[in-house]
Symmetry: C3
Subunit: 266 residues, 3 copies
Amino acid sequence: MPKGKVIALLTDFGLDDNYVGTMKAVIAGINPKACVIDLSHAVQPQDILGGAFLLNASYKFFPKGTIFVVVVDPGVGGERKIVCVQTRDYIFLSPDNGILGPVTAQEEILSLVEVSNTKFFLPNVSSTFHGRDIFAPVAAHLSLGLKPARLGDNLEELKKIDLPRPKVSTGGTLTGEIIYVDRFGNLITNIDDNLIKGAGANISSITIGDKKIGKLITSYQDGHSGEPVALIGSPGHLEVAVNCGNASKSLNCSRGDKVTVKFVRS
Amino acid sequence: MPKGKVIALLTDFGLDDNYVGTMKAVIAGINPKACVIDLSHAVQPQDILGGAFLLNASYKFFPKGTIFVVVVDPGVGGERKIVCVQTRDYIFLSPDNGILGPVTAQEEILSLVEVSNTKFFLPNVSSTFHGRDIFAPVAAHLSLGLKPARLGDNLEELKKIDLPRPKVSTGGTLTGEIIYVDRFGNLITNIDDNLIKGAGANISSITIGDKKIGKLITSYQDGHSGEPVALIGSPGHLEVAVNCGNASKSLNCSRGDKVTVKFVRS
Amino acid sequence: MPKGKVIALLTDFGLDDNYVGTMKAVIAGINPKACVIDLSHAVQPQDILGGAFLLNASYKFFPKGTIFVVVVDPGVGGERKIVCVQTRDYIFLSPDNGILGPVTAQEEILSLVEVSNTKFFLPNVSSTFHGRDIFAPVAAHLSLGLKPARLGDNLEELKKIDLPRPKVSTGGTLTGEIIYVDRFGNLITNIDDNLIKGAGANISSITIGDKKIGKLITSYQDGHSGEPVALIGSPGHLEVAVNCGNASKSLNCSRGDKVTVKFVRS
């Protein structure tokens, strides 16, 4: 595959309006051979943290050379910068609002550029839709091989937010929170599998809200139908699910709710 | 078109999460030239019957050589097998949970293989997201020309569910049910046009729930605006609709509700 | 890019059912190299005006040669015609129900043809799903270079609806209405920027419903968080928005609501 042929879109635009389609139109006009993949457009409006989570959970599955266009942009038209970050395998375009924090905590930044060269923008740039007027054409040019350095000057520093981190208290209790609820009602926490790997046998309890969940299991199937279970889900995080059910509904839990893991003293 | 270049995705993943986008990312990494078509991702979670209906109503419109990836998979991570079914014109990948029943009632199975060769999976297979870790890479390899036989051993038997069948009672009454409600509120029944073809003039009444519907008409336009009508819809099934309205709402009917067709004694 | 390689789809089919996927399947079977872009499928069922707005707000951003397939079609299966309109840069396929009115008010019609040549339809045409049986195959053939003249006879006249127009009353008051509400709750009006261009300083008040909005600003960022503001949005229309909020919800406004702009007497 030619380098950079895949353009991945992650936005809070939804699919009901013409916004995503118009971005794809602009891309097709510049590089009709680009392969555009919708990562998601259902980030809640202006939810930078939610976008950061989805990007972080997904980017490694994209082919090397993918250009990620991340437009969750409450500051559009204001003074926030637009950045282009190059890592060993990927290029990321986004507003400089911190959304690339989790990814760049894992991937070394090889170059960081402010996107300011209007030569690669649409001729008329609106103050409300940079996805169409700046992000789409810039991504399309990058997919044709444009060097990020051509987009503008180097920046010293990238703004970064971090996903909320779980806390380890004395006695070994781990306190995290739900950071994402998916279509199935699965409750994905910020507790990374590294924190509990190999500790399965030593977990004495997992509590979400005020509900105790059984032991850590391996797959949804290991839970009785309708029973909430804890497992390591596909993004590598501790997750609470109900086999053939909806954990979010049956436990009445949502993003931000606390999750506690206690370990057997050993 | 090279054989197998189209990959059709039918899942219950929805489009809000990163699941479908990640599957496409994996496919693009293996076969960047694959043409991926979303059949639907709005099957209700774990609704095998709903998925079977949509697949059955659509597959014949896809180009020969299409690889269908059908992931409605309540048993993911458990003991259910993954199967690859080859028919004269198509390849179907799905969990062995019966979802291919209606299609294979129409298409002869030329080969049936258990998908088990990890060589064509992602290196790390999670226990919760086989769409990404198994289905996507296997489909991509098939689209590059991989023979299904390379995926694993032959299986003796495929699990099959059947769409609910209408009953014909003495006196010629046909009793079926609503099996799908679409965005327009059209009520699609399990009564195939073969059962009533040519019988239009002989139908004395069509009843849905406790509401009598007028005679069988040819198109939505033949009904007065707001009036419920019965016609043969695009999947070739008896359908109750309201011209410029929503039959599901105005008749307060949903999936599973009974539909009765009575014929004039002749 | 080869002429006509992009096919843009704008429908009221939604994405939950198999309708859009089946259209893409038919297209891929005829022209596997077509680049299909979803403009939107979330037009409200049978909402011709809503479809006309989205098309008008977007079409200029598509590459020259794009074939627009516009299927908002309450008259499907009835006597309404299907038309193919060629302009200098684009081809439009739609039911002859007026939906191309706003576009053809801006683009000169070079040819207008009734789509009737069944040679380019699917062999079996249903009476309920012309998107699949007529629009998709015809668009695919056009994308392969088929001349519109081959589709049928010339038509004398195209049906046209117009977007509601704002009124200018004596004293210079401009009265328009909300014609679109987007995912962010932004209230897009039918007041074109031409009507108020350069008049920013001379606007004395903007009223929406019974709520006075502050002066015209340049970007969402110029408004305090939570405060409703007026600006020229990305389709070039006066728009009322709430910075980091949802104007539709906080002002309790929706499509059809009145918007009044008063100017300072000069």
